[in-house]
């Protein structure tokens, strides 16, 4: 499986260079989101771009025919896509560190947040959530058709986040009782543990769906 991830990295060398430009652009665009929001948004968005570009390369090279003609089990083909996500995130975080250092050294008037593990983990969760929603459709229909789902996903999130304040101008009555029933979450660590458990479940379900859909496909 490591070789499948290596292949994704080799194919995305141009994207790796472009990542520096994207990080700089998003750092500028998301300055107003505050320290944590800016870094989470950058890691999530650029990480997800790696996910999408990886899919595009597979489609361009019609590689499903290659891998499914080889002794490569489908769970490895599918699993490698999920396992590449932490690699993408690690790379984007590294790029962010380089870009934010360069901004600081060159005294470019862009505010950048310092990297911390909690925020980087939130960014990673962001990519996993987006990829978990995207990959089952990608493995069911291939890149070209799944792009429609991708657009629905992205625009849906953007539209929902802008509509929410209008839909719920006041906090709905069911929110407080719901949270009273949950154990009181104190501090970042507990929040992170809950978020990781949720994402692990989401990724597991997404992986199983992807595997099932991919197994049904014909090439």
């Amino acid at each position: 499986m490591a070789y499948l991830i290596l292949k994704d990295l080799l194919l995305q060398r141009n994207m790796m260079l472009l990542a520096f430009a994207y990080v700089l652009l998003f750092a500028f665009a998301f300055q107003s989101m505050g320290d944590e929001g800016q870094l989470v948004a950058i890691i999530s968005m650029v990480g997800y771009m790696f996910v999408m570009v990886g899919g595009a390369w597979e489609e361009k090279n019609n590689s499903d025919t290659l891998w499914n003609s080889m002794p490569a089990p489908k769970w490895k083909i599918v699993g490698a896509k999920y396992l590449a996500i932490p690699v993408y995130v690690a790379f984007v975080t590294l790029v962010y560190a380089v870009v934010s250092s360069a901004i600081s050294l060159l005294q470019i008037p862009i505010t950048t947040a310092p990297i911390n593990v909690f925020v980087a983990a939130l960014g990673t969760i962001g990519v996993f959530v987006a990829a978990s929603l995207y990959y089952p459709v990608y493995f069911a229909f291939g890149y070209t058709k799944s792009r429609y789902w991708h657009f629905i996903l992205i625009f849906g999130i953007v539209a929902l986040s802008s509509m929410l304040p209008n839909l719920f101008p006041e906090k709905p009555a069911w929110i407080d009782p719901l949270f009273e029933k949950l154990p009181k979450l104190t501090g970042d660590a507990m929040f992170l543990v809950v978020a990781i458990c949720f994402v692990a479940l989401l990724v597991a379900v997404s992986f199983l769906l992807s595997l099932r859909f991919y197994g049904r496909r014909e090439f």
Partner: protein
């Protein structure tokens, strides 16, 4: 001897096309030419063998194993060359092979390097800069570098110049000399198969018209040429297909001895090519 490849009553339905209960088998150590017109079902059959399409009915056994139940085990022992390039065009062949090789338990780097050297393939150039012939040679090098016992080749020589085609056919002949490797070679360029095939299987509209040894095929069929006046009722039962022109007729007949006796030296009887056989068998009478 157990067949290395066996298809039994294989069925696959598509809108407007059907693989119609096809059966044939290939013995170890032989090259089978899988011929048919474009759209006759050659690639579909190969995809069914490779599990790229799901079988609806019937059975496919490779090395005596069910192709679905033992898919990974079987694919360790199969080399494949397809008509389209499926390698990542943005990678060099060194990078591509580093990714592919670990999947094969019996990968042999010495064999691989020998073929790459023999084919004169540049290791540091991206695959997208390769000509069609170079891509095909690379695919062949990969297919031959993991001690495959069955090579499945789908139109490997189409679109290649005669020199590269000849080179690929020479290698196939060499490979087969070890008596362990078998080849299923689909092509509509029948002259390639005239040269190297031991067995020939003809598919037409998703149905196998025949699957037999090349010797039996040339014993069974003859090409007859003569004046149109000879095209009487006596000859017609022996005619598989024929075509008329203002100068006479040409047709494919069975039972050479009977036809020879009937025409009494008034017509020319020749050994047909595979193309003649494919043409008359698939198009029938009055081509």
């Amino acid at each position: 001897m157990e067949s290395i490849l066996e298809l039994r009553n294989v069925v696959k339905n598509f809108t407007g096309f059907k693989i119609n209960g096809i059966s044939f088998s290939l013995e170890p150590g032989y090259i089978m030419g899988f011929i048919g017109a474009n759209g006759s079902g050659k690639t579909t059959t190969i995809k069914l063998i490779m599990n790229l399409l799901h079988l609806e009915m019937g059975e496919i056994k490779v090395f005596g194993l069910d192709s679905r139940q033992h898919e990974q085990q079987i694919k360790q022992r199969i080399g494949f060359v397809y008509d389209d390039n499926h390698f990542y065009e943005e990678l060099t062949i060194t990078q591509m092979t580093k990714v592919l090789a670990p999947f094969y338990k019996k990968w042999d780097w010495n064999t691989y390097n020998r073929y790459i050297h023999r084919f004169g393939l540049p290791s540091n150039k991206k695959i997208k800069t390769f000509s069609r012939g170079m891509k095909m040679k690379y695919a062949l090098a990969v297919a031959l570098s993991h001690k495959a016992e069955l090579l499945i080749m789908d139109e490997p020589t189409s679109g290649l110049d005669p020199i590269v085609r000849s080179e690929i056919l020479d290698i196939l002949s060499e490979v087969i000399l070890d008596e362990r490797c078998s080849v299923l070679f689909s092509s509509h360029i029948t002259s390639d198969l005239d040269r190297i095939a031991d067995y020939v299987t003809l598919i037409h509209n998703g149905t196998i018209l025949f699957s037999t040894s090349k010797e039996e095929l040339f014993e069974k069929y003859s090409l007859v040429k003569g004046e149109r006046s000879l095209l009487g009722e006596n000859l017609r039962p022996y005619l598989v297909g024929y075509r008329e022109s203002q100068f006479g007729f040409e047709g494919l007949v069975t039972d050479k001895a009977a036809v020879q006796a009937m025409l009494n030296g008034n017509a020319l009887l020749e050994r047909p090519t595979l193309e003649d056989i494919m043409l008359y068998c698939t198009r029938g009478r009055a081509v």
